[in-house]
Amino acid sequence: MSDKEMNKIANRQVMCEVLTEAGKKSKDLLVLTSDSRGSASLVPFAEALPKQMIEVGIAEQNIVSIAAGLAHSGKRPFVASPAAFLSMRSIEQVKVDVAYSNTNVKLVGISGGVSYGSLGMSHHSLQDIAVTRAIPNLQVLLPADRHETKAMFQALTHSDQPAYIRLGRNPVQDCYSDANYGFEIGKAVTMKEGTDVVLIATGETVRIALDTAENLMKDNISCKVLNIHTIKPIDKEAILSAAKETGLVVSIEEHSIFGGLGGAVAEVLSEVADVIHKIIGIPDEPAVTGTGLEIFTHYGLEPKSFGKIVKEMVAQKHDKTGV
């Protein structure tokens, strides 16, 4: 794809547009930031709806508790704070004040994964999916592109359940042509049909899976691509049927190989026999630093390296099954 065709709109900008539109319709919709309105691209919201923007300062524990108190009083707060802090520094407030008290707080982890590539492990959020999905009563979502971000946030403005949503910092290439594909929380999307292997991805790795699938067609490998935009509640049926159709699952995520998308998929697959599953993600180490793309490339989270692994796995499967 040429530069001219590249999408320049970051998911966070789309979030701002959806929240501004919804906020104009309902004064109960609030946005809370921890000195993070710029990083979250929420300045236009603050300008359009200053009374619905609550600044909490650099205090990530406080922002979650205050949001819980607001939600308990009938407000619909969206907390936007860096994923690295929101999913770690604030996690007890998330567990107790949001999940346990069951307050309708939407926790938006911005600049998730390795978005803050060069800033080091303190700013990487590669454990957030593992942590948040172990908390009862909390949904966990990651949009693949700007269109899914739009559909997802439109759904979230109407939902009454607590949720953690991870967004990346930079624009990602489109996976969908528009937002009208029937997004539903908890319902996986089959992005492409295929018979040899199913590539399961979430968030920014969906595009990688799609590009990999396209590349592998040249090698006569047919990949199904499943987008798990909702890691919790996970779409068990979609995963099980895709696994049974192909007998081979390769998952890919911008997260530790422990406890993230791969872990969630493996939990589902543990109920069935004869399915091979490989988890691709960030190994158990402080991730290298650099640009997001450099880090992705370092760990093989790009179509070329990922394609090589998928190809090997498909060959292994054929050796094993003789098909």
Binding site: G57, Q61, N62, A68, V96
Partner: protein, 274 residues
């Protein structure tokens, strides 16, 4: 006032009975804040057991969640739950667990982990400001709890948002599990600290004296400031052998101690009856 003092003694009897029967509980912590809760629930708070979710109700969040037996006893006495249900406290499957539980009518938020209640109350009070509603928000903190950094995040925000519809109370009994609070972690000078954070601070020299407490509750907020009632209390208040003894933080009475406690509380009730 006499009636409220008698009420506080009756509630203390419930607390001793619940903890003795369940063989678990935070005896000392309950007894130090019993008069604060009686002041709130029988004089200050606008709450209705028949309509516990009424829009205009005052909100109470118990940040020191472990002092829950006294809370359950009061909610039962007020009619939010039945008196019989108190017997289920701490039993398998009971909603009367060892910390406030919002499945129980009258409880706003789940607490238990210290250092949450103030910031949650900031959110509740802020919502009232945003919607120009008149309800008041109250939260009770322990003094050991003040070592949690999140308390001070909440303190800062309450003043920043000028929440003069928020009242916090510190149950300053000076003891925590390990011993004297000032030896575990120095938190003084408390009055100056809270004032420096932008709060109006009212000190109550005898935080087990209901009349003094009510006077502090009824003192109007200074405009634009959240209000702190620094109540100097006695841990284990009401029964001599449990007073000011750190070990009674969560000690369970023996049968003999229970009998002795009841005799003492009944004697105090008789004095008030005269």
């Amino acid at each position: 006032m006499n009636e409220l003092q008698k009420k506080a003694l009756e509630i203390r009897k419930d607390v001793w009975r619940m903890i003795k029967n369940a063989k678990t509980g935070h005896t000392g912590s309950d007894l130090s804040c019993a008069d604060i809760l009686v002041s709130l629930y029988y004089h200050v708070l606008n709450v209705d057991p028949k309509n516990p979710k009424a829009d205009d109700r005052d909100r109470y969040v118990q940040s020191k969640g472990h002092a829950v037996e006294v809370y359950w006893a009061i909610l039962a006495d007020k009619g939010f739950i039945s008196k019989e249900e108190l017997a289920t406290y701490s039993q398998y499957g009971s909603r009367l667990i060892g910390h406030p539980n919002n499945k129980v009518p009258g409880v706003e938020m789940n607490t238990g982990s210290l250092g949450h209640g103030l910031a949650v109350s900031v959110g509740i009070a802020l919502a009232a400001k945003l919607d120009q509603r008149s309800y008041q928000t109250y939260t009770l903190l322990g003094d050991g709890e003040l070592a949690e950094g999140s308390v001070w995040e909440g303190a800062m925000a309450a003043a920043n948002y000028q929440l003069d519809n928020l009242t916090a109370i510190i149950d300053r009994n000076g003891l925590q599990i390990t011993g004297k609070s000032e030896e575990v972690m120095r938190v003084e000078p408390l009055k100056e600290k809270w004032e420096a954070f932008g709060w109006q601070v009212l000190e109550v020299a005898d935080g087990n004296d209901i009349e003094s407490l009510i006077r502090a509750f009824e003192t109007p907020h200074e405009e634009g400031k959240p209000k702190m009632i620094l109540a100097h209390t006695v841990k284990g208040k009401g029964v001599a052998f449990a007073e000011n003894v750190a070990a009674w933080h969560h000690k369970v009475p023996t049968d003999e101690q229970y009998e002795e406690a009841l005799v003492s509380l009944n004697q105090q009730l008789e004095v008030l009856e005269k």
